[in-house]
């Protein structure tokens, strides 16, 4: 706002200089300097205005609000006061040994507590409340009908969190630097600590925003708020544990020389960045107008996350000398991941809006490869199947590679077990998602089924399939003492663990039943899938084309030769 204020009140520098009781030469010099300063300011001002225009409006507004907010002032002054008290207290306690002792690590640990509380509790909770309060104060509606995109709203809120973090860092960083001067802690530890605090805070803020967008109901918001605080306290506890280890392990710079540390950090960063992107697009999708395409960006994020996951698992598998165990873990995590994602993707609205239809791929190649990214439960189901099939193919290739490796060696699991697990895991996923989709489809005929309700339906179906046979077996006098029976064919957890434990005889039977069931479910859902696949791109209305031409006029034709006018 300061830039705007200056535009309306341009001070007359000469008049101001004249008003001062100065000798003539000094007054002339002062006037000259003032005029130059004013000229420089007038040149600089448009730059500031441009920078201000480039900034996210929400970031600008929230920074202004924060600077005037009592809450922010109290929290910041409290942090400063604590840092000062800790520093002065520590210096007093250490006493003369401050000149020769190595007491930095203890003080760094104390600062880490402040860092964790402020970064892992206050900042993420403020992000959560910031968006939740917009709904409570009825300002969210006003903001959502502006031309701000949902992604801008989320990134603005995140930017505001980053601005807060920077302010808190500015209070803490001199103290952290002071611990370095006290010896006993090296710069690498401090930098790693700050970096982890920053990214953890940013990640938790993103999670807070995702939770804030997930419900509009006040009661749910209260429950979510309590749950989020508990989560933040737990994150703070974990962060402090990690900080304690980093500070007192004494690794320091040796950590930076360690290949394992960098590999671990790179793997963690891959997981962090892909999950962050997924949460970001999910939060944006939650506040996006229902007729817009909210699914495709999320599916792309899932694809990228899966690719990163496969990459790191492959690295781990090679590092582990091609042992088949790695393949089993890859399958297991991929199965869980795609089941959870599948419960949401198959809960998408089956009706495709005109707006989405305008953006459908139009080329044959595009239709073949990109149709699976289109929104809709049918395409979501096929997207999950395609991805799990992709993982299965990679696992098979891995098995073949393992068979050529001399280092893989014998032991658990054998190639037969892995093959059975692969087929059964894929089949259970396809069957359960397909069955859940049928139930959701039936419910949709009588009531509106939200995505959350769809997720619940899927989990209930899985729970029924797994729980009912277990309960029946536990209640039956004849079967109670039996280990695994074919009654558990609908229980994927028991069946898969039984095969993994070497129950090959049952495995060979299951491999006939479960894939057949999966194919049946796939065929039953095929009608809906085909209906979605038959959707074709439609032309935008003439009014939209006219508006588009007005907004983005084609560039004027440039002369291509000297004779052109």
């Amino acid at each position: 706002m300061s830039t705007e204020a200056t535009t309306t009140s341009e001070p007359s520098t000469a008049t101001q200089a004249d008003a001062l009781p100065l000798p003539g030469s000094a007054r002339a010099l002062l006037a000259k300097v003032s005029t130059r300063a004013a000229t420089a300011w007038h040149r600089f001002e448009p730059v500031l205005v441009r920078v201000g225009d480039w900034l996210n409006p929400i970031l600008v507004k929230e920074t202004r609000q924060a600077l005037k907010s009592r809450y922010f002032l109290v929290v910041f002054i409290l942090l400063l006061a604590l840092c000062w008290v800790a520093t002065i207290g520590a210096v007093a306690v250490i006493g003369p040994s401050i000149y020769y002792g190595a007491s930095g690590s203890t003080l760094l640990w104390i600062y880490s507590i402040f860092l964790a509380v402020w970064m892992l509790i206050f900042v993420p909770y403020a992000a959560f409340r910031s968006l939740a309060a917009e709904r409570e104060d009825n300002t969210y509606d006003l903001m959502s009908i502006t031309t701000l995109k949902p992604r801008q709203i989320i990134s603005g809120k995140l930017g505001s969190s980053v601005a807060q973090m920077m302010v808190y860092f500015s209070a803490l960083t001199p103290c952290l630097a002071f611990t370095y001067l006290l010896r006993g802690v090296d710069l690498a530890t401090i930098i790693v600590l700050l970096a982890y605090a920053f990214f953890s805070s940013l990640g938790l803020s993103m999670l807070g925003l995702l939770l804030a967008t997930s419900t509009q109901n006040r009661v749910s918001q209260v429950f979510m708020s309590v749950g989020f605080i508990v989560m933040l306290l737990f994150a703070c506890f974990l962060g402090l544990n990690g900080a304690y280890g980093a500070i007192f392990s004494g690794f320091g710079f040796r950590l930076l020389d360690s290949t394992e540390f960098w590999i671990f950090t790179a793997a963690l960063f891959t997981l962090y960045s892909t999950s962050f992107a997924l949460a970001f697009y999910a939060a944006s999708g939650m506040i996006t107008f229902a007729t817009e395409n909210r699914s495709t960006p999320l599916r792309i994020c899932m694809l990228v996350q899966q690719a990163a996951w496969i990459g790191w698992m492959s690295y781990g598998w090679i590092y582990d000398q091609f042992r088949l165990q790695g393949i089993v873990y890859m399958m297991m995590f991929a199965g869980m991941y795609w089941y959870i994602m599948g419960t949401m993707l198959t809960g998408e609205c089956p009706e495709m809006s005109q707006r989405v239809k305008r953006q459908l791929p139009s080329t044959k190649l595009g239709r073949v490869y990109l149709t699976w990214l289109n929104p809709g439960p049918g395409s979501g189901y096929m997207f999950v199947i395609a991805n799990t099939t992709g993982v299965a193919v990679i696992c098979v290739l891995g098995m073949i590679a393992s068979s050529f490796s001399s280092t893989a060696g014998p032991g658990w699991p054998g190639a037969d077990e892995v093959t059975l697990l692969l087929i059964l895991g894929w089949s259970y996923l396809v069957a359960y998602l397909g069955l859940g989709m049928i139930v959701v489809g039936a419910l949709r005929r009588v009531a509106e089924v939200t995505m959350l309700a769809s997720v619940l339906v899927h989990f209930l179906v899985l729970l029924a399939g797994s729980g009912i046979p277990s309960v029946v077996q536990a209640m039956s006098v004849e079967m109670r003492d039996l280990d695994y029976s074919f009654m558990q064919v609908t229980n994927p957890f028991w069946s898969l663990s039984h095969v993994a434990d070497g129950g090959m005889a049952e495995g060979y039977v299951l491999v006939l039943i479960v894939p057949a069931a999966a194919i049946c479910m796939l065929l039953l859902n095929l009608r809906g899938v085909v209906r979605e696949l038959q959707q074709v791109r439609i032309a935008p209305p003439a009014r939209v084309l006219t508006d588009e031409a007005e907004l983005h006029p084609p560039p004027e034709a440039q002369p291509t030769n000297p004779w052109d006018e």
């Binding site: 205005v49 104060d137 009908i145 229902a290 939209v544």
Partner: protein, 315 residues
């Protein structure tokens, strides 16, 4: 009023269903540039729901609403650039002053640099908030907050304004000022859809009205058109020099006269006819030999029309 070929607001068989409630039921109407369209109906009639759909805050269950030719369902982003919505609540931020509030919304509508500054200045001047630029919005009176909200609504110079109960809770002076502002906006060519419970005010500024009850649009048109269509009668009083009983008998014989009352020399009755019919009635009285010394007709107000058209049902 400038009547353009394409309507600025168009509701096409709009429906909105919430569980068991049909909040908006097959509503269709059009509003043109420069026109003020009054949207009236009892509480729960579906006014706010249809306005929220127009403002892209809600989706219709069926049908469509168009703003400047763009569907609120398929092109909400294009609609938002053209529409300013003033809801029936304030929605103000804490620790923000008037200028900062308007600046935020100007930025949110994509206004940059000098364009943004001049838009803020213009809006503050129009709403007469320029003297309160640095005042925190928490400390503003209700009337001032209403002005600020109107200012926010028009910060991006939209061609369509949707105002939900803008005069609610305002004192008489603030109401008159708001009414003048709305009239000025309409004169500048904006299409305005306005809902209010204060029907006398709507009657003064609206070119046309739509009467809504239980989600259904019962009547659309100017007050006079609706009165005529609904056969709302005007109230006529006649004073004659002698023989009011003969006048009573003469009037009682006519089909277009009802609810006849005579008190001394004054006769009052309801008359089903427009202005020319009233003139013809007066002429007929004089030709029949009545010494008419006073003849007056009061046409039904918007309130009368509203009460006549609606049945007071709520859902």
């Amino acid at each position: 009023m400038i009547r353009t070929a394409t309507p600025q607001i168009e509701l096409r068989r709009l429906h909105r269903v919430f569980d068991q409630t049909h909040a908006v039921n097959d509503v269709s109407f059009e509003v043109y540039a420069g026109e003020v369209f009054g949207y009236i109906g009892p509480n729960g009639a579906g006014k706010t729901t249809s306005m929220r759909i127009l403002a892209t805050l809600d989706e219709p269950s069926a049908g469509d609403a168009l703003v400047d030719g763009f569907s609120v369902v398929d092109d909400p982003d294009r609609v938002r650039r053209r529409l300013g919505f003033m809801p029936d609540y304030f929605g103000t931020y804490q620790n923000v002053n008037v200028r900062e509030y308007l600046d935020f919304f100007a930025r949110a509508y994509g206004l940059t640099g000098r364009e943004r500054l001049s838009a803020i200045d213009a809006v503050m001047e129009f709403t007469q908030l320029d003297t309160l630029a640095e005042k925190p919005i928490d400390g503003l009176s209700k009337g001032m907050k209403q002005r600020l909200c109107l200012g926010r609504t028009m910060i991006h110079n939209p061609s369509v304004l949707v105002l939900d109960e803008p005069a609610a809770g305002l004192d008489p002076r603030a109401r008159i000022e708001l009414r003048d502002m709305i009239s000025n906006l309409a004169e500048s060519g904006k299409a305005i859809l306005i809902s209010s419970h204060i029907l006398t005010e709507l009657a003064e500024i609206c070119d046309r009205v739509g009467i809504l009850e239980q989600g259904r649009l019962l009547a659309v048109g100017s007050v006079a058109e609706i009165s005529a269509r609904a056969e709302v009668q005007s109230s006529v009083h006649v004073r004659v020099l002698e023989d009011p009983q003969r006048l009573r008998s003469w009037l009682a014989a006519r089909d277009d006269v009802a609810e006849l009352r005579t008190e001394e020399d004054l006769t009052t009755f309801n008359f089903a006819g427009d202005r020319p019919a009233e003139a013809a009635l007066l002429r007929a009285m004089i030709e029949s030999g009545f010494s008419v010394v006073e003849f007056g007709a009061r046409h039904k107000s918007l309130e009368d029309v509203f009460l006549h058209v609606t049945e007071g049902r709520v859902q």
